[in-house]
């Protein structure tokens, strides 16, 4: 699909209706499947699990601090939201509708990002290949029918909220609404901490796409300062609101503290848990700092290197977060995979698409099997599952590196047209 076809409103409505119908049908007719998915480590981490949310909700509704008992590690403001809905046990439909609507809104945000054309031609760089792209319709469909997105939605993982907040932030930045982008980013950071690292590239993106006549300051540093202040202000307001809701500051150590110190070591598809199960106690805090620094060290380097295409930086950082954050799940991968097709025009420059796709598929199928062998059958051990999560991380990092290579090569070809179509060699 090289040319962008005009999508009629009917087609868009049809896409959304089909996605919503599929999800609601599974919720209604296969409740076992969504319960199964909710219990899977690939979908539900300690900081996104719907089961833990219900536990926190129960405590909250009985006027007990939701963080008593050390099960609930999610943002406090999710509690009043869910307690407004009818009880999930009695009437699951409203809760399910929330998740379906979240997915549709995320898809709408991707549509907006794709239609802006930012991926092919940013303020400072225009790719000669930009004509070859997919429409927002295709990208929204990619996102909505991606099995990883479906599993996240059906498993009712609260990372759906974060996904929506991040996509909404990017969509706002692309469409020239810096303030809206910063508010959305603050929400994403409030919900799961690591999106705060997206702030520098997002500020650049918003700066590049700001409306010439808008009220935003002209100079770069002033713009960045205003954006950072907006994020800090919204975060502060959210924290204050959380304090008023729960009545104490206990939520800070129970939500962000758990992410920072990895006190819940239940297995997930990330690389942290096994490492810190094995780590000597006296080195634990040092390596926690190393892992967090590692995660955040990419921000500056990537932002400087691909300054001309901030959306690429955001995409790559989301991919890196999906590999290296403390409690990753397939929701993070689905967010990254939702943005990758924006770069349809550089796909011909990627070298390992087959390899990375097969590695990701391979580990996606073998991961649950190895987890089963370890936990249920008892014929494997923790190393089985950890090995497959390493492969999963390898597949994603291959994709991240390959995409970065393709984007950089695309930039290089503009500078030096004579290398187009030639194999690269190290000289």
């Amino acid at each position: 699909m090289a040319a962008v076809a005009k999508v009629s409103p009917g087609q868009a409505a049809g896409l959304y209706a089909a996605a919503a119908a599929l999800r609601l049908a599974v919720f209604a007719f296969l409740p076992g499947l969504s319960d199964l998915l909710a219990a899977r480590v690939e979908v539900s981490t300690p900081v996104t699990s719907f089961k833990r949310l219900q536990e926190g909700l129960f405590l909250y509704n009985h006027n007990v601090s939701p963080y008593d008992g050390g099960v609930y590690h999610q943002a406090p403001l999710l509690l009043p939201l869910f307690s407004l809905l009818p009880s999930f046990a009695a009437l699951p439909l409203p809760t399910d509708l929330v998740y379906v609507v979240l997915d549709l809104l995320s898809a709408r945000a991707i549509w907006r990002i794709a239609d802006s054309g930012e991926a092919g031609s940013s303020a400072l760089f225009t790719s000669p290949r930009r004509a070859k792209r997919w429409s927002g319709f295709v990208l929204a469909a990619f996102f909505l029918f991606n099995p990883f997105t479906l599993a996240t939605c059906l498993g009712r993982s609260t990372s759906a909220f974060t996904t929506y907040a991040v996509l909404h932030a990017i969509a706002n930045a692309v469409s020239g609404a810096p303030l809206g982008a910063m508010v959305a980013l603050a929400f994403a950071g409030y919900l799961s901490l690591s999106p705060l690292l997206l702030l520098p590239p997002l500020v650049l993106l918003a700066y590049d796409r700001r409306r010439p006549a808008g009220p935003a300051p002209r100079s770069g540093p002033a713009f960045a300062a205003v954006c950072a202040a907006a994020v800090a202000g919204v975060l502060g307001a959210l924290f204050l609101l959380s304090y008023l809701v729960t009545g104490s500051w206990e939520f800070l150590p129970s939500t962000y503290g758990v992410q920072l110190t990895l006190s819940d070591l239940s297995p997930n598809i990330g690389l942290w848990w096994y490492f810190f199960v094995e780590m000597f106690d006296s080195f634990r805090s040092f390596f926690l700092a190393v892992f967090w620094l590692h995660l955040s060290s990419y921000v500056a380097g990537l932002t400087l290197r691909i300054r001309r295409q901030p959306l690429v930086v955001l995409t790559l950082l989301l991919g890196i977060h999906g590999i290296f954050k403390p409690y990753p799940s397939i929701a993070d991968t689905s967010l990254f995979l939702a943005l990758v097709p924006l770069y349809r025009h550089v796909f011909p420059l990627m070298r390992y698409t087959f390899l990375s796709a097969s590695v990701i598929l391979y580990s996606a199928f073998l991961g649950p099997a190895f987890y089963y062998l370890w936990i249920y059958a008892g014929s494997g051990n923790a190393n089985f599952f950890y090995a497959i999560t390493l492969v999963w991380g390898l597949g994603q990092s291959l994709l991240v590196c390959d995409l970065m290579f393709a984007v950089l090569r695309d930039e290089l070809e503009v500078e030096r047209p004579e290398i187009v179509g030639k194999e690269i060699r190290q000289i």
Binding site: A289, F405, I427
Partner: protein
Amino acid sequence: MSTPPPADSGTTSSEPNVASASPVAAAPAARKEAPPEKPSDARRRSRIIFSFWLIVLLLGLPIWWKTTTIYRADLPLQEMLDWSDGKACRPVFPLRISIRAGALQEQEAQNLLRLTQHALDDLNDFSGHHLRLQLAPPSATASHDPDSVLTIRLAPGDATTAAFDPHEPILDITYPPNAVPSHTASSSPLATYVAGQLRSAFAEEQATISYLLSTNSIPSDHRPQGLAPDVAQSLAKRTTRSLRYAPTYHLTLSLFASGSLPSSWDIERAIADYMKPVLDVLSPIHNFTIDTQVQLYATPGVQSQVLNKEDLSSFINAAEWPLSPSIGGAPTINFVIFVGNQTIAAPGPDADPSRSWLIPQWGAVYLLPLPADTAHVGAATLKQPLLTFTSHLLALTGAPRSGSLPLRLSTLARIRSADLLLRASSTLGSLARLALALPSISIPPRVADGVATTIAHLRLACDSLGTPDGLRHARVAEAEAERAFFEKSMVGQLYFPDEHKIAVYLPLLGPVAVPLIMGLLNEVKAWRRRRKEKADEAKEKKSE
């Protein structure tokens, strides 16, 4: 992550420059020189490398320093070593003995006291254990002065006799009227007799304490000389038999029957009647908790009718009998009554076969023969077993074997305080040596607090040895010293040599460091080359 291909051009620029117009025609050996890098690209690369190094230097290094610095609380190492070497405290037990001689004149009594003290001092060879006589004020009405360990009641009689009061620490001595020494006499048989009695009464305590001191690292100058080897051996045997000191002991009394009968026993009354009195007098030294059980159809570990000495150790059927090793943290002493008609082989042909035996550091067993149809064991039947257990209990707690009960108990308190004092001191010494031997072990503040408490209580205990306070302080000191030594966070680091740190750091940080360091080196090289080029240019301009 990866740098763009042109970035590598700087490192291979020394290759011979074979310019070839078409790369398709170029042989693999003929390398094409990359076009020069744009200055903006070079600047960008420096900035990227700089940004990584900024994180490493500004955040990584301080965090590394902060999280891996080992906290070492200051310990008074020299003082701790002094305690364990016995330099800090010289264990001295000043024992005061009152003499009550109502029938004697003040002058005569003083004279007798002086002579007896002389005789005692001549006999004594161990300065740490010192008996000091004093005359009880005649007005005192109490039969025993609580400040002194023993009261000697002198009364005129027909012959020289000595007898211990069974309920109080009182030694009754009668003397014939002519035995009172005259004013000028330099020696007197009565004084020598009294001294001899006292010496024999305290001989066991003295031997035990000197044995304790000799097994610890107390310097030899005030260690008693000449502890006979056989005495030392029997003391060693007794020490291994008795349980380690604990403030509370748990007593488990069990009735095991080989069949279905007897199924009940009147143990509560029996304990109240026969055991409680001794437990009460032991209460200043130990607390006791008691539980009881009845087990039917119990098979002993040895089935033979007559139990030989070798059988006794395997009689307890450890696999099947529910005798838990410890309940609630306190060490358990087990007393087992086994109903059955087995007997113990007599040591000699004319000796009485005994019915019970003591298992070191564990408890005691009593074989109780009963008619086969006895369903209920009355308190009277349990009298002999419980009295036997009571004497075993004293042995298990480490009380001396001879002397009257009150004297034995006060001796037990003194032995225990000396034991605890020495043990706490040696624990302190071990901790100090550990802290010196492992400079990389962390010492949390809790350990320093524990050491300070231990030393304070050791000092108090040392100053009040021989009194109930001394025992209390020694007990606190020992508990604190043990807690400081077995601090959880230290035990984990005991076997963590410095070389292991390489294995901890290298696998992750090594691979991460390679691109960082290589990038930095390349940057430095490029910067020096640029500087040289600039200098060359300047020179050329000058020469022009």
